[in-house]
């Protein structure tokens, strides 16, 4: 016994005198504290026991098998430590000491404090944000909490805001729109007569307005980084995401319980499986929250690990105030979130099927979730499918029947064909041709367009005229085909000639599918086999924008990948014809151009044989378009499966399987076997966590006051800020739970407080950031509020709900990395519904600090830059709104009436005498017509700080 102790003491001394200094000097720089290169920590015994990516660093007693010893011996260049640039190989004596130490069994007194990822275990368990909510003290009010801190800081709060300021503040705050002058005046009167109920009444009115949901829904869309495009390399439109956007608006309007709001977004599809169809559909739409996650890369499926990271990161920040995404490559460095927690959640999402928006190599969107039950889908789809199948069968039969005849014709043409001209047509290029050939009756001249190299097909414009050089000077042109393409294939032309539209990859095959319209546009008609190869026309007298711009009254062909398309002309004459025309790529950036070949088939029997084959053909009238099934961009469960660790975040380096479960610090409950992905449980876990209520009341506070009680509203962890009023935060969170998670109840509570109703002012030196809220912070309007206010002033704001965006039809999409989706849609509806792209910021929203469509935005920034002022000096939209308001005012009797009206519309107050006077002299001095004078004056008012700020 004594001996043992003695040995232990000796070991200890050896470690302290030889080993510890050595480790500190040579290893700690990269392998201690937060720095753990290769995953290895050498500052605790547990560190080397666990080891790094390559396994335990030391096997006590076995120096030759210990990786640490191998490394310091410098035998293997690729596995040598310390690295050359950090001093290189250790002195021999140092290596020997380490070997001795490992032989001794590597005695090491450095015990790590028990930690959960980046936080000491006891600290983590005691972390303020994780604590259960106290029971709310019913005797308290918000102002009690606020006033205590103000008194402590000896700060005098500002007095109450005047009625006009208050109604402006509350209207913008709750609806994103200004009050009308009448409303402002009525409120001011009401406030004097009924000081106790005026504010309540105003609140009731604003909260009942459907515009409330738009404003507060927009806040939520910021937090969940809502966008209308997928964000992968072609930034494809999300055709159905708008349903989620509108559901969020609606959820706020009807004050959906916040805990249910959470549950539905994570698992709405699982909650109402058995419910009546409206609720079921709503549940599905709500999971758009997950589906709108950003997609990455060229082939989305290959980068789904990044999408899941985006989900886990956003979910952590927006619901829990935890930066969970940080645990993808390693345990969180500051918070108690382990990499295992990350992959436990990862498994839940990888057991979920996300709607697929399409991407460049997989163009077709799929996995949208139908909003009607399967029986209804079937009732719509089955008859259509049956009709379609019948047509397909007939077509196949006909194609088979013609095979032999086609081969005969091919053989007939065989040896007597002569290539007149052939050329490639580079991307975007146009190649003209002009040739003369002698033809006999029945011979054929054929223009075939071929896909270029292996890059397939492209829409190709054809102009081609065939003119007899002497004699009757008869002429034919593909232009004649444009008005009446559907007349037939073969197409009977004048003077006994005939046009045939063929696939000519091997033998000639008639394009027998007849389309009377393309993308619902009946000016576009085509003959094809399947979708391509095809010949088609734009018979309209103007260009049509589809997958590319199709010129007016033009003729096109579209070869298939590896399939040629040809126009054949059968000669009715004997003599010389001139062949002139051009072949042009009609879809620049849609591929790599095409090639074409002009061929003379000098066999008089060839044409008649084609005619005979064609005469027996029955055109296949393509079925009407597929019935429209209402779908959502949403998610459903797929095969439930645990995920495996991605070592250092690398999805190709898989580690152990991690069971699907809740975050360990918040309980770590497992997903019960047989319960699917675990999204339903996750929704419950989040909704019942004290974090959920704390985070949300803090957001509500932030959206009212500009800053949260916790200013880092997406981060309640160790790196976040501590609450300015911790007791108030907890009290509010507890109230939130007590009122049944009613967001509107929180508005009422907050808006009724004195602290909300205070006048605005500048911060004092004692409290430069106004953390103690001695006054209400003045703010500029957000981008959306600004645009809506301009439209409102001009009388053009359309308050009806926005629906889907006018995206191009899915069937026309050819988006690629080289030609990504890019559009800006103007509209006069609420700006919260402007189409927002992930890859290309909306110019207006980007100029005025709109939300980031790629990452959660807790609160808008307010930057002030001269390019914003340029907007208010020169932008056509701004000018147009001033024009429209001027038009409204010009109907009034005189300038006095106009001045009063302008001030009332824009500022909800009467002009002062000085303002009236100044306006009159401005109008008198402004060198323009009366209407233009007014437009000028209105531009001044609409660019003013008063118009664009809320006190």
């Amino acid at each position: 016994m004594l001996l043992c102790l003695k040995v232990a003491a000796q070991d200890h001394a050896f470690f302290e005198s030889k080993v510890r200094p050595l480790l500190v000097e040579h290893c700690y720089e990269c392998h201690s504290g937060e720095k753990t290169k290769g995953g290895l920590a050498l500052d605790t015994k547990q560190g080397w026991e666990k080891g790094g990516d390559t396994g335990p660093a030391i096997l006590p007693g076995k120096p030759d098998e210990s990786l640490l010893i191998k490394a310091v011996r410098y035998h293997d260049k690729d596995f040598a430590m310390p690295p050359l640039k950090k001093g290189g190989k250790l002195p021999e004596q140092a290596v020997a000491d380490l070997v001795t130490w490992v032989k001794m069994g590597a005695p090491d007194p450095r015990v790590a404090a028990a930690k959960i990822a980046g936080m000491k275990a006891d600290e983590a368990k005691a972390w303020w944000a994780f604590q259960p909510l106290p029971k709310p003290d019913a005797s308290k009010t918000i102002d009690d909490f606020i006033d205590v801190s103000l008194a402590k800081a000896k700060l005098m709060p500002a007095g109450p805001a005047d009625p006009r300021t208050l109604i402006r503040r509350m209207s913008y705050d709750l609806t994103g729109l200004p009050p009308s002058a009448e409303e402002a005046e009525a409120f001011a009167t009401d406030l004097i007569r009924h000081p106790n109920s005026a504010i309540q009444n105003l609140m009731d009115r604003l909260l009942a307005s459907p515009q409330y949901g738009v404003q507060w829904g927009r806040h939520w869309l910021d937090v969940v980084r809502y966008a209308d495009t997928a964000g992968e390399n072609t930034d494809r439109p999300l055709m159905h995401a708008w349903r989620y956007r509108n559901w969020v608006f609606d959820a706020f309007n009807r004050d959906l319980r916040y805990d249910d709001f959470v549950r539905m977004q994570l698992a709405g599809d699982l909650l109402f499986n058995q419910s009546e169809s409206k609720q079921r559909a709503e549940g599905i739409v709500a999971t758009g929250y997950l589906a709108i996650a950003r997609r990455f890369g060229h082939d989305i499926d290959k980068d789904m690990h990044l999408t899941f990271e985006d989900v886990i990161d956003t979910l952590g920040k927006n619901f829990l105030g935890l930066t969970t995404g940080c645990a993808r490559c390693h345990d969180h460095k500051y918070d108690p979130i382990t990499a295992a927690d990350y992959y436990a959640l990862y498994g839940i999402f990888s057991s979920t099927r996300f709607a697929f928006p399409g991407c460049e190599p997989k163009g077709q969107p799929r996995d949208m979730v139908p909003l009607i039950p399967q029986a209804e889908v079937d009732a719509l789809m089955k008859p259509w499918q049956a009709k379609n199948a019948k047509l397909e069968a007939e077509k196949t039969k006909q194609l088979q029947a013609n095979k032999a005849a086609e081969q005969v014709i091919a053989n007939l043409g065989g040896s007597s064909s002569k290539v007149v001209f052939e050329s490639k047509v580079a991307e975007g290029a146009s190649v003209p041709f002009e040739y003369r050939v002698r033809v006999r009756r029945g011979e054929v001249v054929q223009l075939a367009v071929l896909p270029n190299a292996n890059h397939g097909a492209d829409s190709t414009l054809i102009e081609w005229r065939i003119a007899e050089t002497d004699g009757m000077k008869r002429a034919w042109s593909v232009a004649e085909l444009v008005p009446e393409l559907m007349k037939g294939n073969p197409y009977p032309a004048n003077d006994g000639a005939m046009w045939c539209f063929l696939e000519t990859t091997t033998a000639p095959v008639f394009l027998s599918d007849q389309r009377q319209s393309i993308n619902g546009n009946s000016d576009l008609k085509s003959w094809s086999l399947g979708s391509e190869p095809s010949v088609f026309v734009n018979s309209a007298d103007q260009q049509v924008m589809v997958w590319t711009t199709l010129a007016a009254e033009s003729f096109f062909v579209h070869p298939g990948p590896k399939r040629n398309v040809a126009i054949a002309w059968m000669s009715p004459l004997e003599g010389e014809v001139a062949l002139t025309g051009r072949v042009a790529d009609a879809h620049p950036s849609g591929g790599d151009g095409v090639a074409f070949q002009l061929k003379h088939i000098a066999v008089p029997q060839y044409g008649p044989a084609l005619a005979e084959l064609g005469a027996n053909l029955k055109p296949t009238v393509m079925p009407e378009p597929m019935p429209v099934i209402p779908v959502a961009y949403a998610v459903v469960d797929t095969k439930a499966q645990n995920a495996r660790f991605h070592q250092r975040g690398d999805p190709e380096k898989l580690g152990d399987e991690v069971p699907r479960r809740w975050l360990s610090i918040l309980g770590g409950e497992p997903v019960p076997a047989g319960s699917g992905s675990g999204r339903k449980q996750l929704g419950d876990w989040i909704a019942s966590s004290p974090l959920a209520a704390r985070i949300m009341v803090n957001r509500i506070w932030e959206w009212h006051f500009g800053k949260g009680l916790v200013r880092s509203s997406n981060d309640f962890g160790a790196r976040g800020e501590k609450p300015t009023h911790p007791k108030l935060l907890d009290w509010l969170a507890a109230k939130f739970v007590e009122t049944g998670f009613s967001v509107k109840a929180m508005h009422r509570l907050i808006l009724s407080s004195q602290v909300y109703q205070r006048a605005s002012d500048l911060p004092s030196a004692v409290d430069p950031d106004n953390r103690l809220l001695a006054h209400f912070p003045r703010r500029r309007l957000t981008a959306e509020e600004m645009r809506d206010s301009l439209l409102n002033a001009s009388g053009q704001l359309d308050l009806t709900p926005a629906g889907a965006h006018p995206f191009p039809a899915e069937a026309t999409w050819k988006f690629s990395q080289h030609g990504p989706f890019n559009a800006i849609y103007e509209m006069n509806k609420r700006s919260a519904c402007l189409m927002v792209q992930r890859q290309r910021r909306h110019p207006f929203l980007s100029l005025f600090d709109g939300a980031d469509p790629n990452a959660t935005t807790a609160a808008r920034q307010t930057t002030t830059v001269p390019t914003q002022a340029l907007y208010f000096i020169n932008d056509p939209f701004f000018h147009a709104q001033a024009d429209a308001l001027a038009n409204r005012l010009m109907s009034l009797a005189d300038d006095d009436a106009r001045i009063t009206s302008a001030w009332r519309i824009l500022f909800q107050r009467q002009p002062t005498a000085a303002e009236t006077q100044r306006t009159k002299s401005f109008l008198a001095n402004y060198p323009a017509s009366n209407a233009d004078k007014w437009t000028a004056q209105l531009r001044v008012l609409m660019a003013s700080n008063e118009f664009l700020h809320i006190d």
Partner: protein
């Protein structure tokens, strides 16, 4: 009635102290409300401005700046490579070396080898530090382009131009601090010049060559009327401000109108080449009155830098019809011709005016092109993230040198490899920044351009 303000009045207040504001507000503005106020970097640096020349689509290194005689000799030889662009791709089971299509020759005092694709740049090699060992982390245009601009290969992050402007502010408030001149948008859209989580003041201002280079900079009203309106606005805002204790938020917005007014003149002035000598225009390959083309972009860049714009990026072309020569390497010819003479002219012009002393010129692309293809006589080359060439010139850069090398066939950056992150760290160093210290706190973490992975300054290219 107040007398209308004249142009001199506005310009005076926009450039020097304002006539509008009393001292205290002015001071508040300088301290808090002006994110673009000039700032000192971490340590003194020669480079004050950057001109960043970005060639879209992937310039072939073995055909331009990286001569590979062994690749010529080995033409047609089958090789093996675990290459991201060919893995599992049908038709690419076997690959063969493909010789460069342009000859190389030594140029300048330093004897740097450059191919006949860039005859004019070849004449400037004594001012250039060429890095032949560049490599990147992704073989897609989108990701590699995003990476070259932001250091991030998937998620959106602030652009290098935003980081530099965030670090240095900008001396000329009549022009934006970070300008991107691009006839078309490159891969990854506006993300390549976005400020992302940095404040919006640091985002790149897009200039599209043509009539109105910056959105809303062209006055829609005669100057006299505009001045009347702005004077009335100033009056109104001043009264509003007076009852709100001179709130700097409001005062700052007032000041932006003065700056914007000046921009309407300063911006067109920067892009008006009337005063340029015939010889200068000719050197850039420009005809008088021409307002498009890379020559126009280069001369505009010089004029912007002259006027104190901190970071100018020139993008040569858009996300199609660019250097992405899968089909035929000969498409490099017109693209090289488009940029070669203008870039050489820019370097000479900057040097002659002494601007190269404090301007860093960066030339790069998102990745190189494969020295092989699936047949030896294939005309094109594929994407190649393993190796490419970039160069630096000007302030703080050691001129006339080559750093790093690829292996014999240009497949791998084998000697002193320089990752995009290292390249960024080096550019920031040249601007006076420690890339580990130029950080921004976002979502609880201190973000930086070079990210969490290790990166090193390429000391060898520093003067």
């Amino acid at each position: 009635m107040n007398p209308p303000l004249n142009r001199r009045h506005f310009l005076c207040s926009a450039t020097a102290g304002s006539l509008l504001f009393p001292g205290i507000v002015q001071q508040l503005l300088a301290e808090s409300a002006d994110p673009l106020a000039p700032k000192m970097p971490h340590f003194p640096a020669k480079a004050k401005n950057v001109i960043f020349l970005f060639m879209t689509g992937g310039v072939s290194h073995v055909d331009s700046f990286d001569p590979k005689p062994e690749l010529v000799k080995g033409h047609g030889k089958e090789i093996k490579a675990d290459h991201p662009e060919i893995k599992g791709r049908p038709g690419y089971e076997r690959i063969y070396l493909k010789r460069p299509q342009w000859d190389f020759a030594k140029h300048g005092q330093c004897g740097m080898e450059v191919s006949t694709l860039f005859p004019h740049i070849a004449g400037c090699v004594d001012d250039i530090a060429l890095i032949r060992s560049m490599h990147t982390s992704h073989s897609n245009h989108y990701n590699a382009t995003l990476g070259m601009h932001t250091g991030s290969f998937a998620q959106s992050r602030p652009s290098i131009g935003s980081w530099v402007t965030y670090g240095l502010g900008t001396p000329n408030r009549n022009l934006p601090g970070f300008v991107v001149i691009a006839p078309k948008q490159t891969y990854a859209g506006t993300q390549v010049f976005a400020s992302d989580f940095l404040p919006g003041a640091y985002q790149g201002t897009l200039v599209v060559p043509g009539a109105e280079p910056i959105a809303n900079v062209a006055p829609r009203l005669p100057a006299g009327r505009q001045q009347l309106e702005l004077a009335a606005l100033r009056q109104m805002n001043a009264e509003h401000l007076a009852t709100r204790a001179g709130d700097p938020l409001l005062a700052a917005r007032m000041q932006t109108f003065e700056t914007a007014f000046g921009m309407q003149m300063a911006v067109p002035d920067a892009f008006d080449f009337k005063q340029e000598a015939d010889a200068t225009l000719a050197s850039y390959g420009l005809k008088r009155g021409q307002t498009t083309g890379f020559g126009w972009q280069c001369l505009a860049a010089r004029r912007l830098v002259e006027r104190g714009v901190r970071f100018v990026e020139l993008i040569d072309t858009g996300s199609s019809g660019n250097w992405d020569a899968h089909g035929d390497m000969m498409t490099h010819v017109p693209l090289a011709k488009n940029v070669d003479q203008p870039i050489a002219a820019l370097l000479r012009d900057l040097k002659q005016r002494g601007l190269l002393e404090d301007t860093l010129v960066v030339w790069t692309t998102e990745f190189g092109r494969t020295p092989f293809n699936n047949t030896a006589d294939a005309k094109g080359r594929e994407h190649h993230p393993w190796a490419f060439s970039s160069w630096l010139a000007g302030a703080g850069v050691k001129p006339g040198m080559v750093h790093g090398a690829t292996d014999e066939i240009g497949l791998r950056a084998s000697v002193d490899p320089v990752h995009v992150r290292d390249f960024h760290a080096t550019i920031l160093h040249l601007m006076g920044f420690d890339h580990e210290k130029l950080t921004f706190r976002h979502a609880g973490l201190d973000f930086r351009l070079t990210g969490v992975e290790e990166s090193h300054i390429v000391k060898e290219v520093l003067a």
